[in-house]
């Protein structure tokens, strides 16, 4: 079974802090994604990566950056956290960019910015 592991289940950070959310997958998947989940808004794509060192903006990239130095790891970075970034963050991976390649999700990181 594919395992997507997000390093933290809960995080509490202060406004202005630099925040790192880490995600690791163990199945040699090419694609990795970061989504943000908010009530009533569903999942919105922040960034995705289809290869090491490659990244593409999703629908809501403002205030975020990403890093993918190794195939198995995809990090989401909040350069200066703000209260409107309080949310649930979900990482996902898929084998390839083919649409029939299913997404595998981690359990999420609930970030609170105070």
């Amino acid at each position: 079974d594919v395992k997507v592991t997000q390093s933290s289940r809960y995080l509490v950070k202060r406004t202005g802090e630099k925040v790192f959310l880490e995600c690791v997958q163990d199945m040699d998947h090419e694609n990795m994604f970061w989504y943000r989940q908010d009530p009533g808004l569903g999942l919105r794509l922040i960034y995705f990566s289809y290869d090491v060192k490659m990244k593409e903006k999703g629908d809501i990239p403002e205030g975020y950056s990403v890093s993918r130095e190794k195939k198995e790891r995809f990090s989401l970075i909040l350069e200066s956290a703000s209260t409107n970034q309080t949310s649930m963050y979900l990482c996902a991976s898929s084998l390839s960019t083919e649409i029939n390649s299913p997404l595998h999700f981690g359990n999420g990181t609930r970030l609170t910015v105070t």
Binding site: G40, L43, I99, G108
Partner: protein, 114 residues
């Protein structure tokens, strides 16, 4: 632009009763449609998907969905709900040109009463 609408934010159903969750989509090319389920504290799990062919697709946990091109709909159904089906359900759409990215709906929360 692609979009997914789930008109029902919240549905309450009695255990043993039938369930239908609505999903309408807008997509410029041939849509690939998905239903995901998120149990409390968990990531999303794929229930079923539609790519082509038979418009009635079967998924895991006894769920099925019907694709109706004329109505731009992909509704999810289950004939008899179990208490363990209490969760949030997300419809999603993508295409062969989407690099594996999916557009998610806002979700429907299902509550199951005894």
């Amino acid at each position: 632009a692609q979009s997914v609408t789930q008109p029902d934010i919240h549905i309450t159903v009695s255990e043993g009763a039938s369930l239908e969750l609505r999903c309408n989509y807008s997509y410029g090319a041939t849509p690939y449609l998905f239903w995901y389920v998120q149990s409390p504290g968990q990531g999303l799990q794929l229930l079923l998907k539609y790519f082509s062919g038979d418009t009635l697709v079967q998924g895991i946990k006894g769920f099925e969905a019907e694709f109706k091109r004329s109505q731009s709909s992909f509704n999810l159904r289950k004939p008899s709900v179990h208490w363990s089906d209490a969760a949030e359900y997300f419809c999603a759409v993508g295409g062969t040109d989407s690099w594996g990215k999916l557009q998610f709906g806002s979700g429907t929360q299902v509550v199951v009463t005894p």
